[in-house]
Each structure stands twice: as structure tokens, then as C-alpha cells.
Subunit: 577 residues, 2 copies
């Protein structure tokens, strides 16, 4: 991951010894030593893309960082860029402004929509940029056989994708843990391909002998822990545990006590899924550091979780520390409460100066093509005939958690149909297949969104990214779905038959081809309208909606082929006996 | 590093889940969790060569380890097997009895004598044995241009040696640190070959910008630290620091305070050079644990230094922990004060049962050939004419340190010759070239051995392993040298013209082809005679003697081509102006 001028080891030795001036010296900062967890008052000498010395140095270029706190460039241990709804280059810009210089990314979403073409798009768009984007190969395309994805990645394709370059590190989160435990042939084929590489995990609540089996299969990271006991057991069995703070799933505060305990070298920080507005307004991994410090933890104990630990986990050499031979990825902070970078250096080149991004680039170099292949719908398609005497299986969401629960409720019946009941906050939900023109539709109900009027819809719907629409009435639901079909995907808010707000997502119906500020203002407009229509202000409605179709996280989900009980791992009927 | 029965990942998953019986279950022990630094009361289930689960299990074979403490197999982070004077297979046996199941070895000594043939001998003799011997490629053959070695390894040869298999990990200790700092072409060529592999360091007292330069060159381990401040600086600059306790160089107690401090994940334990008698009577890495505990440190803080940390440093996957997927290298201790293993398992196979070794093997499969190529000598060759009015540069040894000092002393003169002066403990020292029949001899004096009568000699003489002889009189020195020449090398004690004890070392004049117990009794006899002739009982005279010719550790050394001041890195005259 070298950027800009290449140097020889001979030059680096001479610069380190002070026999020749370094290319760049950062003078007078407090330099974080991630190995000893101390701050050293010293200069940082850089030759080409590498740090060559910590000490007293002169440079051809010198930058005064007196009083600033220098840390290694922050890293995100696990992130789906698609969840920001920003293009990968635009995402990199936002991350750099937050002091994040590298990330382990899983392009799971776009690959589910567009297959290998989507993976290559993410790889190509992040080539030769001042940001280190490492890619894991999505393991679950499709995620399950419970729904219809846009693509299918076989182990043969994975073998080819493995060879796409050194930024491809291993196999991404193996969400199909039942498939591993039951040693299904296709899952075994995949893990055998990555036997000597890192295989990321995703197995919420897995424990005891089943956890042993999952880890014995070679799956050695986890970012789904929700409590200290779960995380400690997973670390004990040899896993790296990434403490996640996304836009919807927020586990950091619950897990922070681990930071002071033995085992903390096996901890990392990750965002997993984070919206553009949260990234821009709160931050990325730097925001996680802020939370940690606000909760009373020492920055010296937190920073290794965002730097050295992640580099060690993924075998990234010469990354994650400020020391001789390390890539000069450096962030200068003004204080250690609000981690807002003043300067950022990537591979020895300054990319942020006085909080301004110096790197200029178009949001996207080339688009990967159209992704909406579905028929238009009418309101009729959303009708659900009531079954007298039976209660319904309803998806109950929980704020700040991806987990849902299956609850059983009596329907509100009008004209023999089960309909949305805003009084009890039970709303109709539909998932429409959008990749292969099958016309598949799954119907159900969800509890907990608070929407009082209108409908919302999204082409972001984990993991197959069919079109999910939820509403108080069938007419608005049809308007929302049809409009998204027309504009190539996105997010939408509709009421009284009118489109109130849209966030067009031209890249696979997942990411915008516009700059981050534009996307942010579009998201703000959506947020305004969501609140206007009854959704609580602090609730990430679109993020939550996007996970209602993911049949690998307990307990009840809806796909284009109907309801799924994830614990039983099977389709279930809306109507409960 | 799999031994014995191979299993499939499918079998491992089934065994982990308890769906089929494990091959072997260790029942009822206290299982050390190296990640959390806790003991778990649990069974360890093993399938083939791998641990598959920690929990409650049934096995086809079950071994009751109730009350025993189970740890990962110990590892030695840096060891020259040759220093034990045992053949590599015999060394492996002794290490297994001490609970050491793997080691990072540097076959530096035999390679200096026999070249690539010597390296291959060490590799071949440790193939397919129940011990993990990893090899680093000696970086300094010859160590310097200050003496005459048996062989010369070029970077071209290194390139070939790199490809000898997965047990070859990288470049061994780069002792020629001046060569690195002055970016000598041949040293640069070597480090470039290993740019993405581990390069071990050896740079005592190197600090500040010179240390930066050394680390920037890619050299990232160190085992020569003698105090906490030095070790902390080296860790701060990105090095792994191995705390050494050899037979002569003993730094552990001075460095132990590091164990409780941040940075301890970058610490390891090593023996570097340790004699057979010490290994048999005190132990190896297990003895270092005993010292640590005796000094008041917690075993839970010490064991990671001998297991996980070393595995991480060298990128050894699935080694160094008791967790699913890890190689079943397991040691059972009775208590945590005296680390004497009761049972040892290597790759799932029991190799030590009730303190008895189960693995049987000849000490050597095939010898690498003769290594003594030198003329016989007469006592005349050792004469040193005195230079009136001048004092001598004398090598002053320091007990428990490899460092020597240059001291200036007046000679004892008899008949116009400078001679040994037992009253002041100044003894004559000679180094005779033994590889190429050059007849080279270096002469000098050493202070501090305590020998009162006779002479001792050795063909172990770092790093070129010429014949070093030290004595109270020239006649005994000649007897000692000539006898070693006749028997193919070894250690010898002579007095009054009589050979009192020998340790024949048929393998390159460095290692015995006999079993460990025989070597131990030969060493005991030598020790008895050394003490008889005046050497203090607690002093490793032969080990110290073997380092007097090493011109890379400060301050004054003697080679076959004369005295070397290591600080100035140049030959100096015996006589001081």
C-alpha cells in the first residue's frame, strides 16, 4: 500500500540516521506509541511513503504539529461501504476527513445484486487512491435459499476473485452458520479455499460446542457480539471480536468493559453498516473513540483497537503503528475527546490539511449498469386476506439492535383483509423481487416503526436487496415501489399519493453516484419527512427497514418468498396456529 | 505442522459439536486460555492433529488429567540448537521432556562451518519428527570479515534456501548492524530478499536514530536487550523483544518488569545458547517460566510469552493457544512453580507420558562429514614477545553477560615473553583457523576465568568456530589443540600434559552424535575438571570461551586474525600505545 514517491531502503536508512534530510518531518507533536500505549514528544521523519524515525529530525519539508496528538491512521475492521450509500471513492473521502485511512470492506451488497461485476467495481474504484481499501470476498451470495438474490457466487468464482490482487484478503463474514455446523458441501468448499487466509465470522449468540465447531472450521472474527459474556467466550475460543457501532446496530457501550481486560489485544472497532449522514455528522471509527472516551475509557487503551490490533488480525504488515518502516498513515488530532482530525497523511502524502480534504476526485469513474428488473405493481398486489380465528406472526423490531422477535398479534380486519393498524403500530410490509422479473412478492406485518401516514420503500434490503416497502395503506406502497423502479433504485417516502423525498441510488440501487454532501441533504429531507409522518427522530428507519429481509439474523424476517423464522431456519406462514 | 492422522474439516466440525466422538479427550484439567489469561476447568477434545473443542466431550480415547494444568506447547523464540552440543533430534527430545514443542532455530553455527550443507542437515534431521523446528536462514556467514569461517553464504544461496519449505521462515539475526547502518551492498541484498518475511535482529545497545535505521531496514526482533530501558525503546520502535536466559547470557531477571507493562504482547522468551547439562538439569523455556514465577510474576502473564506471542511474531497460524482449530500441542504440568511436564502432546499424539519420552529415535540419521582442516601445532606457536613499556589490551569477561570490556594491563614477562599470570587471573588465549588449513593463529589475553592450572580448548567458537584454546602454559595449550584436531572437534580439558576430559563433537565440531545422557555425563566430567583446575563452579567456562572470538558483540574479541575492537569494528594490536 505505498503511495506517491517510492524510496529505496538505502534512502530510508540514511534518512533514519539523519545522514540525509527526510522528505517530510512532522515537528513537535505528541506521538502515540501503540506498542507501549504512551505519548512521546518527538518528531516523525518520513521518507517517501514510509516513516523512518521517531526522534529529532530535519526535513526538506517540515510541518509544525506542536501540541497536536499524532496517531496511526485509524482503520475500520469491518464495513460494508454500500451501507453509507456513497460510492466507494466518496466514502473514502468522508473516511479520510474522519482520520480513517484504511478499512476491511465486504462488498457483500453489490455482489449480491451484480455478482463478480459488482465486486470488481468496488476493487477498481478504490485502486490507486489515498485510502487503503482491503476487500473480503462475500461468502454468502446468495445469503440463503430463502430469498432471491441478483447473483450467485460459486467457489470457482471465488478462486478467481482471490487472485485479483493483494488487497483481496480472504473470505467475508460467513453468515450461514447453520450451513457450517451442518457441514453443507457448498460451505465446506468455500472455507477450504481460504484455509490459510482470514475467514470472517458472523454468528450472533453462537456458543459452547457449536461455537467450537464454527471456529474449528477456520472462522476467526466476529462483529455480532452484543454483550461481554458472549464476546469473552468468542475471544477465549480464538476469535478476534470487533466492537460494532453502526447506524442501526450499536453494541459499543455494552462491550467497552472488555477494553481494560486481558484479551483486549484481540479486540477491534468496526462500523459494519453506517449511513452517510451519521458518517458526516458524527464520524466513523473516530466517533467510536469519542464514545469510548466519553464512557470513561483511556484513549491509550482505545486507539490500539482501531490500529495495531486490526493490522495484526489481517496480517497487514507495516500498518497500524507510528514506527520505523511503517507506512506513513498518520492523523493529527487537536485533543483526545473530540477526535476530529486537523491533518491526515496517507502514505506520506498530506490528504487533509486544517480539516480540508486535499484529494480531489469524481465520485465515480464508471457506473456498473442498471439493476432494476421488475414489473410495475398495483395496490392490489399488497392485499392480505384475513384468516378468521388465527393470529399473525409479526416482526417486532428492537431499537439499536438488528435482532427481531416473532410476536403473535390479532390482525385489524377491514373488508376481510388484514390491514395496517397505526393505532397499535402494526404496519404492512412487502418485499418485491427486483433482479429477475419474477414478480415474487412476500407479504407480512411489522411492529415498532411508528409511521402514522404514507409509505416508505427501499431497494436496500439485506442481503438480496429486493425492494422492501412498508406502509399505512396499499396505494402509497404502490406509488413508492413504482417510483423506485423508474429511477433505478433508492430510498423513498410517500404520503397521500405524493412522493415527498427520494435518495436515488444509481449504483446497483445501493449507492449514489453523487457527492457526499448531496446525498446527505437528500437523506436529511427523507428524515424530515419520516418524522413528519410519525417516525421517532432518533430512529434509523431506513437502516432498520433494510434488515427486515435478512434471513440470517434471528428471529423473524420477510423475503420475496415470504416469512422466515431464522431460529428454525425455515419459511413460516403469516398465520399462526 | 500436522502430525499423525490427518482429519477433514468436516470431521473436526462433527467432533466439535459432539456429533461424533473425538479421537482423544483430555478430561478434567485446568485449561489455560492464553487470550484471556485465565484457567478454564474443561475437557480438551482433539480430532486428528487438531484441537476441536474446549468444553464437555467424550472421546474414543480419554486421558484423565484431573488437577493438571494444561498449557499450549511452549516455544523458544530464538535458539541455536548447536549450542546444546546435541544433535537436532536429540535436542528435540530434551525439549519435549521440558514441554517445549517448537522453536525458531537459527542454524548459524553449523552453516558457518559447513555452509548450505550444514543448513540442510538441520532441516533434514528435523523433518517429520514430533517437534516443530522452524529455521531462519543465517544472515552472517561469515559473521564479519574479521576472521575466517568455514563457509560463505551469498544472497543467491539464500534465495535457494528460502525455497526449502514452509519451515524456513525468514532471515536469522542480522548481527552485522554496522553493515546495515552503513548500507553495505551485501547486507542490503540480503534484507531485500526477505522484505516480506521476518528478519531477526541482534543489535545490543543500539538506540535512537541508529535504532530507527536498523528497524526501518526491516529488522524487527531483538534478543540482546540487557535492561528495561533498552527493551522498552526497542518495543517502542516496533520490535519484538525476546527475553533471553541462556547458559552464559542471562537477561531474564533484569527484563521481567516488562511482563506487567503495556507492550508485553511484543515480548517473548528465548534461550539463544544453552548447554545440554543446563537443559537436562534446569530445563529450557519451562525453566524461564520457573524463574519468572520465583521472581513473583504470575504464570498467566508469563505463559503467553512462550506461546501466543511467539506464534504471532512469526506468523505461525494455529499454534500457541488451546482453542478450536489449533494444532494440539499441549503440555500438562502438575503445578505452576516447577514447570516439569507430566504429559506432552504434539499434534494430538502423546509424546511424553508420566515424564517419560515415548518417541524413540537414533540421535542422528546421517552425519554431514568431517570439519577439522588444520595443521598440528607446537607450543612455540603460542609465544608472545613482550614489548617493553607498553601495556596489553586484555579481554575482560563479565559473568552472565556476553559483553566484554577492553582493559589495559601490564604483562607478566618471563624471558622476554608475555605469559599467563594466574595470580592476576590473566590467561593466554589463542584462536587457530580450522577450516582451510591456513595455519592462521590469533593471540591475546583474557581476564576473569579463574583457571589456575592447565588449558582448555574448544572447536565451538562463535561464529566461525575456529579452535579456541586458553591456558596457563603453552604446552598444555598445544596438547589440547592437537587432541581436538585428532578427534574431529569438541571440548577438552588438559593439565600437566594429560587429557582430563573431552566432549567429542563429531557433527561439525559443534554437536555430539551421541545421546543426551552421554553428552551430559561428558560435560559433567569436564565441569569437574574445570573446577578442579580453579574455575568457579557456577561459571559456564566453555560457553564463555566460545564467545571470545565473536567480533560482533562489544567490546574486545580475538579471532584467528588477531584482536578486534568491536566498537571501532577494526583489528587492534595486542599492545596499547
Amino acid at each position: 500500500m505505498d503511495f506517491w514517491r517510492a524510496t529505496t531502503v538505502e534512502e530510508q536508512i540514511d534518512a533514519a540516521r539523519g545522514r540525509q534530510e527526510a522528505d517530510l518531518v512532522l515537528k513537535g507533536g505528541h506521538v502515540f506509541n501503540v506498542f507501549l500505549k504512551i505519548w512521546e514528544d518527538a518528531d516523525v521523519a518520513i521518507s517517501g511513503s514510509r516513516i523512518v524515525g521517531i526522534g529529532t529530525y530535519k526535513g526538506r519539508q517540515e510541518i509544525d504539529v506542536t501540541g497536536l496528538y499524532l496517531t496511526p491512521g485509524l482503520m475500520d475492521a469491518h464495513v460494508h461501504f454500500e451501507s453509507s450509500m456513497l460510492s466507494p471513492r466518496e466514502m473514502a473521502k468522508v473516511l479520510l476527513l474522519n482520520g480513517v485511512t484504511g478499512a476491511i470492506t465486504d462488498p457483500h451488497e453489490i455482489t449480491n445484486v451484480l455478482g463478480e461485476k459488482g465486486f470488481r467495481f468496488m476493487l477498481d474504484e478504490t485502486a490507486n487512491i489515498p485510502f487503503s481499501s482491503y476487500l473480503m470476498i462475500p461468502s454468502c451470495v446468495p445469503a440463503t435459499d430463502m430469498d432471491t438474490s441478483g447473483a450467485r457466487i460459486t467457489s470457482e468464482e471465488m478462486l478467481r476473485m482471490q487472485k485479483l490482487g493483494p488487497r483481496v484478503l480472504g473470505l467475508a463474514e460467513m453468515m450461514n452458520f447453520p450451513g457450517i455446523l451442518n457441514r453443507q458441501t457448498q460451505e465446506m468448499d468455500k472455507i477450504k479455499l481460504f484455509f490459510n487466509k482470514r475467514i470472517d465470522g458472523h454468528a450472533p449468540e453462537l456458543s459452547d460446542r457449536e461455537l467450537n465447531a464454527y471456529v474449528a472450521a477456520g472462522i476467526t472474527t466476529e462483529h455480532e457480539c452484543t454483550n461481554v459474556a458472549e464476546a469473552r467466550e468468542k475471544i477465549a475460543r480464538g476469535m478476534y471480536v470487533f466492537m460494532r457501532e453502526g447506524s442501526a446496530a450499536r453494541n459499543l457501550v455494552d462491550l467497552l468493559p472488555l477494553v481494560k481486560k486481558p484479551g483486549n489485544r484481540r479486540l477491534g472497532l468496526c462500523t459494519d453498516d453506517r449511513h452517510a449522514d451519521d458518517l458526516i455528522e458524527q464520524g466513523s471509527i473516530n466517533y467510536l473513540l469519542e464514545i469510548g472516551v466519553a464512557q470513561g475509557y483511556e484513549p491509550e487503551d482505545l486507539i490500539p483497537l482501531a490500529t495495531l490490533n486490526i493490522a495484526e488480525c489481517y496480517g497487514l504488515k507495516n500498518v497500524g503503528a507510528l514506527a520505523p518502516g511503517y507506512v506513513a498513515d498518520i492523523v493529527a488530532f487537536e485533543n483526545l475527546e473530540a477526535f476530529q482530525p486537523v491533518h491526515v497523511f496517507k502514505g506520506g502524502a498530506q490528504v487533509v490539511r486544517n480539516r480540508k480534504l486535499l484529494w480531489k476526485s469524481a465520485p465515480v469513474l464508471s457506473l456498473p449498469g442498471q439493476s432494476m428488473n421488475m414489473p410495475a405493481v398495483t395496490a392490489e398486489r399488497f392485499k392480505i386476506p384475513a384468516v378468521p380465528g388465527k393470529s399473525m406472526r409479526v416482526i417486532a423490531i428492537q431499537h439499536s439492535q438488528l435482532l427481531t422477535r416473532e410476536v403473535h398479534m390479532q390482525p385489524l380486519v377491514r373488508n376481510g383483509e388484514a390491514v395496517s393498524d397505526t393505532a397499535r403500530d402494526i404496519l404492512k410490509l412487502a418485499v418485491l423481487e427486483r433482479h429477475h422479473n419474477t414478480g415474487h412478492i412476500g407479504l407480512g406485518f411489522v411492529f415498532g416503526f411508528g409511521l402514522k401516514r404514507g409509505a416508505i420503500a427501499s431497494t436496500v434490503g439485506h442481503d438480496s436487496h429486493n425492494l422492501t416497502v412498508m406502509g399505512t395503506n396499499d396505494e402509497d406502497m404502490a406509488v413508492a415501489a413504482n417510483r423506485l423502479r423508474e429511477i433505478g433504485g433508492g430510498l423513498i417516502v410517500v404520503s397521500e399519493g405524493q412522493v415527498r423525498a427520494t435518495v436515488p441510488l444509481a449504483i446497483a440501487g445501493l449507492m449514489s453516484d453523487r457527492d457526499a454532501m448531496t446525498v446527505n441533504s437528500q437523506l436529511k429531507q427523507s428524515g424530515f419527512w419520516l418524522h413528519e409522518l410519525g417516525v421517532p427522530e432518533d430512529f434509523s428507519a431506513f437502516m432498520t427497514l433494510a434488515f427486515l429481509s435478512l434471513p440470517v439474523i434471528p428471529e423473524l424476517r420477510l423475503t420475496d418468498r415470504g416469512l422466515v423464522n431464522v431460529v428454525q431456519f425455515e419459511h413460516v406462514d403469516l398465520w399462526y396456529e
